[in-house]
């Protein structure tokens, strides 16, 4: 028994026949329209961003490489070594070893400070949970996305590297761009 599709048939819209005036129109008229379309692309000009010389601007909330922060007035580190960021990290790339602040060796504003603070950027997925988890806004995501390196060990960023003033290599997107 042959299959009867019934009324459930999609009517295919056929092109004009390939003969006579319709064929001539398709051969030349539509070709001219296509030529006009492609020529419009020349008038528009290239939209390429010449990457190493010219960088894609990022949005203000772009999640790039992390930064650790200090208090601007006292110069003390904001991070108190609570390891909440390490706990929040889904990729398990943050390692924090806390130590007690002493009156003669005061590093952070709280009771304790991070003696070791390492982020393994080869594992980081740039989800920003560390930033959200931090109760003191000690860690934030910067705008730098040029963090490739030659060896894996070079991608383990230590506290000194994260605390240092980041080189702003990436332009920020201006309003309305």
């Amino acid at each position: 028994m042959t299959y009867d599709p019934g009324a459930d048939v999609i009517q295919v819209v056929r092109h004009p026949g390939a003969s006579g005036a319709a064929g001539t129109y398709r051969a030349f008229g539509e070709t001219l329209r296509g030529l006009k379309t492609t020529f419009g692309r020349i008038v528009e000009g290239p939209t390429t961003i010449q990457y190493p010389e010219e960088k894609t601007p990022v949005y203000p909330r772009f999640r790039g490489r992390h930064k650790l922060h200090r208090f601007e007035d006292t110069g003390l580190e904001k991070c108190v070594g609570c390891s909440l960021c390490a706990a929040a990290c889904p990729a398990d790339c943050i390692r924090v070893v806390a130590a007690e602040n002493t009156p003669e060796n005061r590093i952070s504003a709280g009771e304790r400070y991070a003696a070791v603070y390492e982020i393994n950027l080869s594992r980081c997925i740039f989800c920003g949970y560390c930033e959200v988890a931090c109760p003191f806004d000690a860690i934030t995501m910067g705008h730098d996305y040029e963090i490739s390196d030659y060896t894996r060990s070079d991608l383990i960023f230590t506290k000194e590297m994260l605390l240092a003033d980041a080189i702003e290599r990436t332009p920020l997107r201006t309003e309305g761009e």
Binding site: A18, G23, A27, F28, T31, G34, L35, T37, T38, F39, R41, I42, E44, G45, P46, T47, T48, Q50
Partner: protein, 338 residues
């Protein structure tokens, strides 16, 4: 029987040698420029820059590629027929370069008291010479595909050969209209006959047919299914390195030849419109500029039209183009005679 070029004056043998060398070298040096120009223009058609890293504005890109291809290890399939496999690209190049000889780049000039025609030779059979060489060039494709010893290459070459034969007919018939109007087969004679009006106006149908057929003859988009960059397999699938470059060289030379014929036959060769008569040394530059414009049109079409399917190609060639070209030749003949 006279085996030498029949021109209306005596041309010493050394002038003919110098002329052929100059024409070959100029076109040979234009080819890399044409290739990089095509890629840059194609880029512009697609909102991008095209090659711009090697050298100033990417102009050294073809040189880098030549080095790359020349240093490739020559290899061939074990099933290939060695001699023919190496000979086929040479045939393709040879016919393409030989066809350059009859493109007139200018009128007869007086250079240091010697009369020199600014063309390889002015054969009295003009377009027939081009078609004869196009007929031979098809051996380059056929032998290349067959000698590769690969079924796919062979099928590709069959496809290419069928395409070339189909469109050569229309191309030739399109030129007959011009030949009847100019009443001469000599290409310089055809240029001289365009003193009043360039032939693309009275022969607009012939011109369109010639251009369409030329796209097919040179395996350019939208008829590039012989080569079909990425999708299907063409006749030079088994060629790599220098062999492939040879075919590419032949293709681009063919483009220049076809553009040269189009310029000569339909756009008044070295003539300029509006009654401008520049000194004789400007002629070759006028011809080269016109060829350049026609080549730009080739690239424009390549950026615009998608590739035809094989059956569309065949039915278009035989059912539309060939009757149109025949009709054009007939109507022209009737108009000219009456």
């Amino acid at each position: 029987m006279n085996l030498f070029a029949l021109v209306n004056y005596v041309e010493p043998w050394w002038i003919q040698i110098i002329k052929s060398l100059v024409i070959f070298l100029v076109i040979f040096l234009l080819l890399p420029i044409l290739i990089v120009y095509e890629r840059k223009l194609l880029g512009r058609f697609q909102n991008r820059y095209g090659p711009n890293r090697v050298g100033p504005f990417g102009l050294l890109q073809p040189l880098a590629e030549i080095v790359k291809f020349a240093t490739k290890e020559p290899s061939r399939p074990t099933t290939s027929v060695g001699f023919l496999y190496r000979l086929a690209p040479a045939i393709a190049i040879l016919t393409a370069v030989a066809a350059l000889a009859i493109i007139p780049f200018g009128n007869v000039q007086d250079i240091f008291g010697t009369k020199v025609g600014l063309y390889g030779m002015d054969v009295s059979i003009g377009p027939l010479y081009v078609f004869a060489l196009a007929g031979i060039s098809f051996y380059g494709i056929m032998l290349g595909g067959w000698a590769s010893g690969s079924k796919y290459s062979f099928l590709g070459s069959m496809r290419g050969a069928a395409q070339l034969i189909s469109y050569e007919v229309s191309q030739g018939l399109a030129l007959i209209g011009v030949v009847i109007t100019a009443q001469t087969l000599s290409l310089t004679g055809i240029v001289h006959a365009q003193g009043n009006v360039w032939f693309f106006l009275p022969q607009i149908v012939g011109f369109l047919i010639f251009m369409v057929a030329s796209f097919a003859e040179t395996n350019r988009a939208p008829f590039d299914l012989v080569e079909a960059d990425s999708e299907i397999i063409g006749y030079f699938t088994e060629y790599g390195g220098t062999g492939w470059v040879a075919y590419e060289f032949a293709e681009y030379t063919n483009m220049i030849v076809v553009s040269g014929i189009a310029v000569t036959v339909f756009f008044g060769g070295w003539l300029l419109p509006f009654g401008i008569h520049p000194p004789g040394w400007v002629d070759p530059f006028v011809v080269l500029a016109k060829i350049f414009l026609v080549l730009s049109f080739f690239i424009w079409i390549r950026a615009t039209l998608p590739r035809l399917r094989y059956d569309q190609l065949m039915s278009f060639g035989w059912k539309i183009l060939l009757p149109l070209a025949t009709l054009n030749a007939l109507v022209t003949a009737i108009v000219v005679v009456s």
